[in-house]
Symmetry: C2
Subunit: 248 residues, 2 copies
């Protein structure tokens, strides 16, 4: 009786170890890619709202500068790096409507600028990381779609395996689920493209051509995803050239 | 003719200078307080969503740790400071379900932890700054309500002057505008408190007592705001003692 119980306990232990191993092994590049793209998108939102806050706050000190620099990242980095006099010289301004703040009132503004700048850098670091993961894992779709679009597609599909299995018509509409269901439910126009609208070939095409470009791009991406998943040869370059020959 | 034109131009110049001075002088502590409180609230949201992202990403590496530490700030700082082995020792864990990541896959996760930690510190720094501004500008309401609630009230009113002018019944409902209009429009129950629900005396009161506590607190805050605006003597301590004598 005692012995049986011991054997059972031992079995249980072994099972737990096996399960833990399974869980550990189930983590693949798919997970890295999905974590990275989610964080990149979160950081895009965060840098955007922090930049707006900084523009607002800094306007107490030097309101003329916000209009001068419309790009958020440049604005934040300049505020963090240069002082009021330097910025005024650059704008060829002799007086400002802004208040001359005391050190203690300026300090939190500059801290905000520096921290926001760190967030921009973090976003860049994670984007570089994402590219390096995809370079080894799915170079074909990376080459054709770029890191952000390729990662969004993979994330929406759930894994590279799943992305390789979907038909190219689904690939074309990944990310447009809302519009698709609206179409099915209420008969509005069907969507022509999902995430691939962000691709320059699609977004720069004439509006009437976009559906066609999106379809061909989705075709190539489908082929690319399969080549990536089945570890075929590198054909991204060739597919990309074909695309560009057709539409540029 | 020429001379008249010159005089007009000169007048115009002088007018612009005067207007700029007016704008410059219109910036007061009210603005500092509103900027600070807006940023504190933004950073609360940001640290929250970044912490969630970090928990998610870190779970690839050491999933057991997220459950162990429920406070976001502690979680983020521990991940940034200690390595996997140290954390496992602290949890008395010999094996983990997490994958052993290579340096390059771990790096972006730790960068996220460090940057998130910076955001927590920034929030603290701005909170300290907010307190120091209020200490000199409106010490009475600061003493009774604490920096966050007092700043929210001031921000909602628009300035210390306006906050000093509103009746205490409005003070009681500042921040509950939505519920108030819902009440007026559809006859739902009227709200009993706005931002002051965050005050420990109100939030810790029995639900049936909250309306009453909120009313008395709003009364004292009204008196305090007027003393602050009209630069009367410091009565915050006395008002606070009266409140506490009544409800603790």
């Amino acid at each position: 009786m005692m012995k049986e119980k011991n054997i059972l306990l031992e079995l249980r232990e072994k099972n737990i170890v096996l399960s833990k191993n399974k869980i550990r092994e189930s983590i693949t590049e798919d997970n890295y890619i999905m974590q990275a793209i989610n964080n990149i998108e979160e950081l895009a939102k965060i840098t955007n709202s922090l930049s707006k806050r900084l523009r607002d706050w800094y306007a107490i000190y030097l309101p003329e500068f916000s209009k001068k620099v419309s790009d958020n990242e440049s604005f934040v980095k300049l505020v963090a790096k240069k002082n009021k006099q330097e910025l005024m010289n650059e704008m060829q301004l002799t007086t400002s409507m802004g208040k001359d703040l005391e050190e203690k009132d300026l300090e939190p503004i500059l801290s905000l600028a520096k921290s926001t700048s760190t967030m921009f850098e973090l976003r860049e670091q994670i984007t570089t990381y994402l590219e390096s993961v995809m370079e080894n894992y799915c170079k074909n779709i990376l080459t054709i779609a770029g890191a952000i679009i390729a990662a969004k597609l993979l994330e929406e599909a759930g894994s590279l395996r799943k992305l390789a299995m979907i038909p190219s018509s689904t690939m074309q509409l990944l990310g447009a689920e809302k519009a698709l269901f609206r179409h099915l439910k209420s008969g509005s126009k069907p969507p022509k493209h999902g995430y691939i609208i962000m691709h320059p070939l699609v977004s720069k095409a004439k509006k009437s051509d976009r559906g066609k470009v999106a379809r061909v791009l989705a075709d190539k991406l489908s082929i690319a995803a399969r080549a990536d998943f089945f570890k075929g040869e590198f054909i991204g370059d060739k597919l990309k050239r074909e695309l560009e020959a057709k539409f540029i």
